[in-house]
Symmetry: C2
Subunit: 242 residues, 2 copies
């Protein structure tokens, strides 16, 4: 998981071993973490190839359009990319511990929530990019979090999926893990924890989930990475054994 990120000039990799999945990923990419969570939750055998996003190996461009990650490569050479499409594929292909709700209506409603969460992500990305949270973005974030807070209040819990985390829990997790980085922007941006009590409880028990633990990073590491990223020199290898 914390292996060195490969760059342009890295030598060709050997074919994927029989029965394994190879994940092209990046230690600090939240979209990539989605796929890691699904692979871990379903206990699918996989190997990790970490990619330097600023200077990708040439062969990455043969795997996916513009060398996009996350991408998974199967032992027959087939490749898929786009985190949500990979997640759906893995959940269908590997029936152990089904993560999508079994009921089609509940599954569709969770998909709608995920669409709304995508808007929250985009507002967060924009805020991190400009270094402050503007009103429009604040509104999208507040509205999104309120929807999720109410949703948790209306479900039997403690997870969105019930007694164990499911697809929706894992698909939103990477950004929730990072939510405290907002304090980089000053005290005003720390989430009002009493306003999102249910979400805060959810976040706490997510942290204790065996699957989440495997890829989870503490907030200081996230902030350290983000600062290097904002300085134009992302330190992808922050967690490497040196």
């Amino acid at each position: 998981m914390n292996s060195k990120h490969l760059s342009k000039g890295a030598r060709q990799l050997s074919p994927v071993r029989k029965g394994k999945i190879r994940l092209y990923t990046n230690r600090f990419c939240p979209y990539c973490q989605r796929v890691v969570l699904i692979l871990d939750a379903k206990n699918i055998p996989y190997e990790i190839v970490n990619i330097n996003l600023l200077n990708k190996p040439d062969w990455m461009y043969d795997k996916s359009p513009m060398g996009k990650i996350p991408a998974i490569e199967m032992d027959n050479g087939e490749v898929l990319y786009e985190s949500l499409i990979i997640a759906d594929y893995l959940d269908e292909k590997y029936p152990q511990r089904q993560l999508h709700p079994k009921d089609p209506l509940q599954k569709a409603k969770d998909q709608l929530l995920l669409r709304q969460f995508t808007k929250v992500i985009n507002a967060l990305l924009k805020s991190i990019h400009v270094g402050r949270v503007d009103n429009d973005e604040a509104e999208v974030i507040t509205e999104g979090l309120t929807t999720f807070e109410n949703e948790l209040a209306n479900r039997s819990g403690p997870f969105f999926a019930g007694q164990k985390p499911g697809m929706l829990d894992y698909m939103i997790w990477p950004w929730c893990e990072r939510s405290d980085v907002l304090k980089m922007f000053g005290r005003a941006y720390i989430l009002k924890k009493d306003k999102y009590k249910k979400l805060m409880d959810w976040r706490k028990i997510m942290m204790e989930d065996e699957t989440v633990k495997k890829s989870c990073c503490d907030v200081n590491t996230h902030i350290k990475y983000l600062q290097s990223h904002r300085a134009g020199l992302p330190d992808y290898d922050l967690l490497c054994f040196k």
Copy 2:
């Protein structure tokens, strides 16, 4: 299908009848047509409520966020929106004539193609909005169509899904039905039919599909509607019996 489009002030509708689905739609909305195609292909009993997009009935805002259409309402009052989420839901809930590929890998690959097609749609929308096809948009459209042309060449055909249209065929159809409206912008914008021979053959047999026939419109009607739309007074009721 061609009933009058309801506007602000329209009276409340009665509850959805047992065993039926109510579709809130608009005769000229391609996203809505996606849902019509799935309902028709799977022979699901439904009723149509046409909505005036410029002046929606008040109760539409109680059904979906911002009164978004397409939306479907079930006989228990549950509502779903977003064309692709509705399509997935209907395909899972009603197992007759499964439209998604049975193989999870093929399904995932079709999803990737659909994402690329969304970029083509957005380029088309931008072009129609500004009244010309700029270079960036032309590139996205050409690249997208070439991908789909090659894809058809590599599949056993004649449809993307094989001997009968499947999910991918129907999800891209509404825009392909309208492709000839580009001639509004002059001869230069007519698609180079010899460059997309497979797609043109596909378009021709799609036109003969019983499901497509039910909601299909001729190009002149589409142009007439689009002209009214561009003039700021969309004539949604163009096909109404008056």
